[in-house]
């Protein structure tokens, strides 16, 4: 029986030849839980200790390959699928141009995995409370001696026998190593908790300062303070103090056509729909109608506003009156607005306005279809289905 607190028995030797033979004899004596501590790697020790070759390379291989595949796949996904863009005439999947990044990611992942894997998985580090630390034995092998330690947990361990065995090796000194007493849970110490709290304060304070103050200071404010004229702002550059200028008299904007029916109550005489109802035209009208008109008029022109009463609901476009509107009148309303409806002229150009008019006609016919329309549409469907 031996002391429960005993970690093991150590012996020190003073030259590398000696430690090789010691390692050989120890492994031949049948000890399993023993270790050789040397200040630097001694060649041939792993052979003498009969250690299996290190399996560290597998971690490197697996993570290195993972790195290559992740990098390649990620670049493929971003450049070919998520946001494909032609750059310098290269194909979306430009393999040669992806090689540098693939290589770098492979190296990065492989080395980090090797090192982290070795330290945590193979060494079980960090371990600053190992019984060997702070012993004379550790101090000596750290400097220039070569040591052997046989652990008490070895199944062949017997204090007297091991001592005899170590004596037979002719060491400089034999030392018993004991387990250290358990320390209190240092995580709960007030000092540490204060430190945590201080870190919390500093981190959150800095974050607050950066996000709410620093980003509004020059030069971090995204160049928001600039010596240039901005719309609706005064400027000392001009005598009248205004930043914005009125165009020279008679200036005509590019693409501008004067609206002939301006202010007229019955413009239908001069406004004639110049666009035929074609598929393309209706498609355009549909998209513009859904964007600009449908929030108030509803997707099918029934006046079912999506604005939940924030804006007065317009009347339905399927009333007898609305169906009898001339094309020109609807166009006129789009351009000038009516009652609470504002002008949509800034948002829709001439073609788009007529396209919306045409689309409203489509809606009106579809919502008020008669028997012959239904027959016609059935025929169309059949034709499409047989194709």
């Amino acid at each position: 029986m031996h002391n429960k607190n005993l970690y093991g028995l150590t012996a020190l030797f003073d030259n590398p030849d000696k430690i090789i033979s010691v390692a050989k004899k120890t492994s031949e004596a049948g000890y399993q839980k023993y270790d050789i501590n040397t200040p630097y790697p001694v060649h041939g020790i792993e052979k003498a200790m009969k250690l299996k070759p290190s399996k560290l390379g597998f971690i490197t291989l697996v993570f290195g390959l993972t790195g290559s595949f992740i990098a390649l796949f990620f670049m493929y996904w971003t450049m070919s699928i998520d946001y494909p863009m032609i750059i310098s005439g290269k194909p979306f999947f430009a393999l040669p141009a992806f090689i540098p990044v693939t290589f770098e990611v492979t190296v990065l992942l492989a080395t980090l995995a090797t090192v982290i894997g070795m330290i945590t998985f193979f060494f079980k580090f960090p371990e600053n409370h190992h019984p060997l630390h702070d012993t004379n034995y550790m101090k000596q092998v750290s400097k220039d001696k070569f040591g052997l330690v046989i652990e008490a947990s070895d199944k062949n361990f017997d204090l007297e026998k091991v001592r005899e065995f170590l004596q037979s090796l002719n060491p400089l000194v034999i030392e018993e190593i004991y387990h250290k007493e358990k320390e209190n849970n240092s995580v709960l110490e007030p000092k540490f908790l204060t430190l945590l709290f201080a870190i919390f304060l500093v981190t959150s304070g800095t974050t607050y300062f950066i996000l709410n103050k620093l980003l509004y200071m020059t030069p971090f404010d995204w160049m928001s303070e600039q010596e240039k004229i901005t719309p609706q702002k005064p400027s000392n550059l001009f005598a009248d103090g205004f930043g914005m200028r009125t165009p020279v008299k008679g200036t005509v904007a590019q693409g501008f056509m004067p609206y002939l029916a301006k202010g007229q109550t019955n413009p239908t005489g001069i406004l004639d729909n110049p666009y035929l109802i074609t598929k393309e035209n209706i498609k355009l009208g549909k998209s513009k109608y859904l964007t600009f008109c449908s929030p108030c008029h509803g997707n099918f022109g029934e006046g079912d506003s999506r604005l939940r009463g924030q804006f007065p609901n317009p009347p339905t476009l399927h009333s007898k009156r609305a169906q009898e509107f001339q094309d020109g009148w609807i166009y006129h309303v789009i351009v000038n607005g009516q009652n609470s409806m504002p002008s949509y002229a800034p948002y829709l150009d001439v073609e788009e306005r007529w396209a919306v008019v045409n689309y409203i006609r489509v809606l009106q016919r579809a919502k008020n279809a008669n028997e012959s329309d239904i027959q016609l549409s059935k025929k169309e469907n059949l034709k499409n289905a047989s194709n």
Binding site: P41, V42, I45, E46, F98, V107, P219
Partner: protein
């Protein structure tokens, strides 16, 4: 003369014992810094402050303070970036490539060279970050999901740079730290100060010099060296792509990748020699960083200098041989145009002066090598200047030709980068072992078993 070439000369001179080696390396960490140390630190710190002030002004008023303007959009910022990345390459070459080539002499200088790699890459990293003008927006360089649904352009050499330099920095740092772990353990076990012991324990992670650990440790060191070797070649290759992938005459050259890598090793070794000459003298490390080390490095400088010289010649040959008028114009303009002075400084510093290293007497003379390596540093800085500025200043459109003149701010930031580098180097010499204790112990005389596996001693 009878020399036995079958026997290697001792890596560590003076027959030092293991304890003596440790004592020698750890001495700067145990003693308080003296006046000279603070003097050196204040000089480098002053240079750093100059750079910081110039940078702060550049950010406040904008990059208009710099000399860059159309058509010379790239100037000191990119020149300094390439220069510093190049300096870094010597460290990885010494620590990784010479390790794979089983060059034992690397152990004495590897730690310092690796540290210089890390500091040089830090200096280099500043320049691409600041030349965007709004460095707090550099996060856009990373591919992260954002509200614009945009991704970075993975086919651009500038983005490859981001990946290459950040990977290079991370891997160098990890490699360096792995080498430091056993030394931290040694320092932990020899110090008597409680604060130092806590810090060393923390960084040593509880290393026990266990042979079961050494086995994995050596394996990981080899794996990392195996990765660092192609990595270091890839980094300067990708840096050269920044130029070579464009269509500008003078940049669009297939010789760039090997030419840049050779130049990087050339300038890096020159910088390592510059600093080590002082370090070995000041910290009494002449027995660990011996004259043989310096001579071997000078040989590498000679070899890579010739490679660079070959590239200079080959560029001219290809310009003539290609028959492209624009290409020929650029190279004639380089040697005889308005920037001829820069070109000939480059050629004389990089190709002509290093030829003195053919003579053993000069290779082993401290004053001569000091002059030459400093000239090499100057020459290599000018090489990047010549490549960047002379190719840009007369481009396809003669009406926009211009002459680039750097401003005081450009020089201030350059001085600042040197200040940062030397401040870090000076701090490093007093806080960490400048030579790998465990590696040098392992190559000292009598440190390894006399017969393979020590069989006969059993």
């Amino acid at each position: 003369m009878n020399i036995d070439y079958s026997k290697e000369t001792a890596v560590v001179a003076g027959r030092l014992s293991l304890a003596e080696i440790e004592e020698l390396v750890a001495k700067p960490l145990d003693t308080k810094p003296d006046k000279k140390y603070f003097l050196a630190l204040s000089i480098s710190g002053g240079a750093l402050m100059i750079g910081a002030v110039c940078l702060a002004l550049s950010f406040y008023y904008g990059l208009g303070l710099w000399g860059n303007n159309q058509p010379i959009g790239w100037a000191f910022d990119i020149v300094n970036f390439v220069f510093w990345v190049g300096i870094g390459h010597a460290g990885t070459l010494i620590s990784a490539i010479l390790f794979l080539l089983r060059q034992k002499w690397r152990t004495g200088i590897a730690r310092f060279a690796e540290a210089m790699t890390i500091f040089a890459v830090m200096c280099a990293g500043i320049f691409p970050a600041i030349h965007t003008g709004r460095p707090w927006l550099d996060g856009y360089l990373l591919p992260y999901p954002n509200q614009h649904s945009l991704w970075v352009n993975f086919t651009s050499p500038l983005l490859w740079d981001v990946f290459a330099v950040s990977t290079y920095f991370t891997v160098s740092l990890v490699f360096w730290y792995i080498g430091l772990i056993p030394d931290f353990a040694t320092l932990r076990d020899r110090t008597s100060s409680k604060v130092k012991k806590t810090i060393y324990s923390l960084f040593s992670l509880g290393w026990r010099h266990s042979s079961r650990h050494w086995q994995h440790y050596e394996k990981s060191y080899m794996l990392l060296a195996g990765f660092a070797t192609p990595l270091v070649l890839s980094v300067h290759t990708i840096v050269s792509f920044d130029f070579a992938v464009s269509i500008l005459p003078g940049w669009h050259t297939t010789i760039f990748p090997p030419y840049f890598v050779a130049g990087a090793i050339f300038s890096g070794f020159a910088m390592v020699v510059t600093v080590l000459v002082f370090v070995r003298k000041i910290f009494d490390l002449e027995n660990i960083i011996t004259m043989d080390h310096l001579e071997k490095m000078n040989k590498v400088i000679l070899a890579t200098g010739m490679m660079v010289g070959y590239a200079y010649g080959m560029e001219f040959f290809i310009a003539w041989y290609s028959g492209v008028q624009a290409e020929q114009f650029v190279f004639v303009n380089r040697a005889f145009g308005p920037y001829a002075w820069a070109y000939w400084i480059m050629v004389s510093c990089n190709v002509i002066f290093p030829q003195l290293f053919w003579f053993k007497k000069f290779r082993r003379s401290i004053p001569v090598m000091m002059v030459i390596v400093i000239l090499v540093n100057v020459g290599m800085w000018f090489e990047r200047f010549v490549i960047t500025v002379t190719s840009l200043h007369r481009d396809f459109l003669p009406s926009s030709w211009a002459y680039y003149t750097p401003t005081l701010y450009d020089f201030g930031i350059l001085i600042g980068s040197f200040g940062l580098f030397f401040t870090l180097v000076i701090l490093f010499t007093k806080t960490l072992p400048v030579v790998s204790i465990s590696e040098v112990k392992a190559v000292a005389e009598g440190a390894q078993p006399s017969h393979h596996g020590g069989v006969s001693n059993a």
